[in-house]
Symmetry: D2
Subunit: 151 residues, 4 copies
């Protein structure tokens, strides 16, 4: 059981690397998003509801939904990369299945296929209201591993 | 020439309808985006550079790039709809072609096909630095026309 | 157990409707594809390997892989539609994850979200060699329900 | 004018390389597709109408439409690659904009962005009837350059 729990968390080094990177993303701070789980090949990001992340009818804006989905997928890929590398989104496709409503939305990025150069992730976003989750968006993303840019 | 210029602007009613809707989008205000052109079947949205819309390396975040692309496409579709209708994004796909850098980025949404129920738009995002534009993202979007929700 | 098995097969009427439609698809016959399972919201299509469905290196051609994936998704949506309707693919996106090799490939279309007008399906294609299955393609598809065209 | 025409054709070496590869694609032969133009960064493929490439209503099957679109994009990318390389489709997304009807359909693949590793193409498919062309599908494709596999 404990072993199970350990396997479900990325190593402290990977977690630290991702949290440091996440904190440098101005957009995530501006939106009010936070990482809630970093497992090998899977990352969760939560975004609380507020008018500043809404569209004209008060639902979460597709742009906010997509932004945390894209970021969750990127870090999910990143959990499986060696230390001196970086990740870039090549492309993604997302279906907005239902109006995104709730106390918060939760994006889950999951690695489907991890290759030497390219990684493919599944993207899911759930609307969460009073603990009930429903799928509001579903997507698929391609990422590329790059050597970390020189400083 | 004047006729040409007129054709290239949506009617005052359509422009007003779109600006009113845009101003209600909390996310567009939060990002600092603004609509710069509303033509029939084509809408431009500009987002100035600042750390709050960046990713970890200082480029525009793919989520910000996508958010204004999605919005530009949505309003481009909306310019061709009757008054008592509304538009929802069904899905979109976007390729991030190059790091999005510049004084600002400019999203251009253009209607490719306008049907009774569904509209398909092309999405382009340009990085603009000192007046030089280069394509940084390219996508395709499907939208659905819906009756305006009751109030 | 029997109830379970019953639920996992579409009704005889739905199965007949889909097999009749499938048999009218010239392309499926030309490729040599056949439907192997019709469950509510899920359809399987199998395509045996032969040089006529390959690309230049002898793998299954992405076009053949996509054709059976698109068709499996379309019929998966169709299993949930009323009798006097029809289904059209609006769009799909597919990632070719690995070279498609095997005795045959098997496409599985699964309904993710079934709405009044639009249905969204997940598309998976497996390469099968000596009974071992590996995922070779993964996609997402949007479909629209239409009234059956007049004759 | 002559210079213009020259620029619009790929070199004889590139054309020969692509025609040889195309002739090895069993699926293109099975469908009855042929390459009609090979320019740097742009390739056209034509598919004549016949029942064997149709879906259940007699229109071109989305799988056939996609197959020639994917192939046109792949060879468009290939025209810009060095001799000892090969191209693989990473993913594509295609919108079926209208029923694909006509004497034949014509797919045009055009390179949007050619990078060291990845190339992004626009895919267009036109239905052609009595010389009149109308856009029936529009897509976007990501490809990867690989070293030619050992023999």
């Amino acid at each position: 059981m404990e072993e199970q729990a350990q396997r479900e968390q990325a190593s402290p080094e990977v977690q630290a690397r991702i949290r440091t990177s996440f904190d440098r993303q101005g957009l995530m701070g501006l939106l009010g998003a936070r990482i809630t789980r970093i497992a090998p090949g899977r990352v969760h990001i939560v975004l609380p509801s507020r008018p500043e992340v809404a569209q004209q009818h008060g639902y979460f804006h597709a742009g906010a939904t997509s932004a945390i989905a894209d970021t969750a997928g990127g870090y999910a890929a990143f959990t499986l990369f060696p230390e001196d590398t970086d990740v870039l989104t090549v492309e993604y496709k997302i279906n907005l299945l239902a109006p995104a409503v709730g106390d918060h939305i939760e994006a889950v990025g999951t690695v489907l296929k991890s290759g030497r150069t390219l990684t493919v992730c599944q993207l899911e976003v759930f609307g969460v209201q009073d603990g009930r989750r429903s799928l509001v968006a579903n997507g698929q993303q391609t990422l590329i591993r790059v050597n970390r840019p020189e400083r």
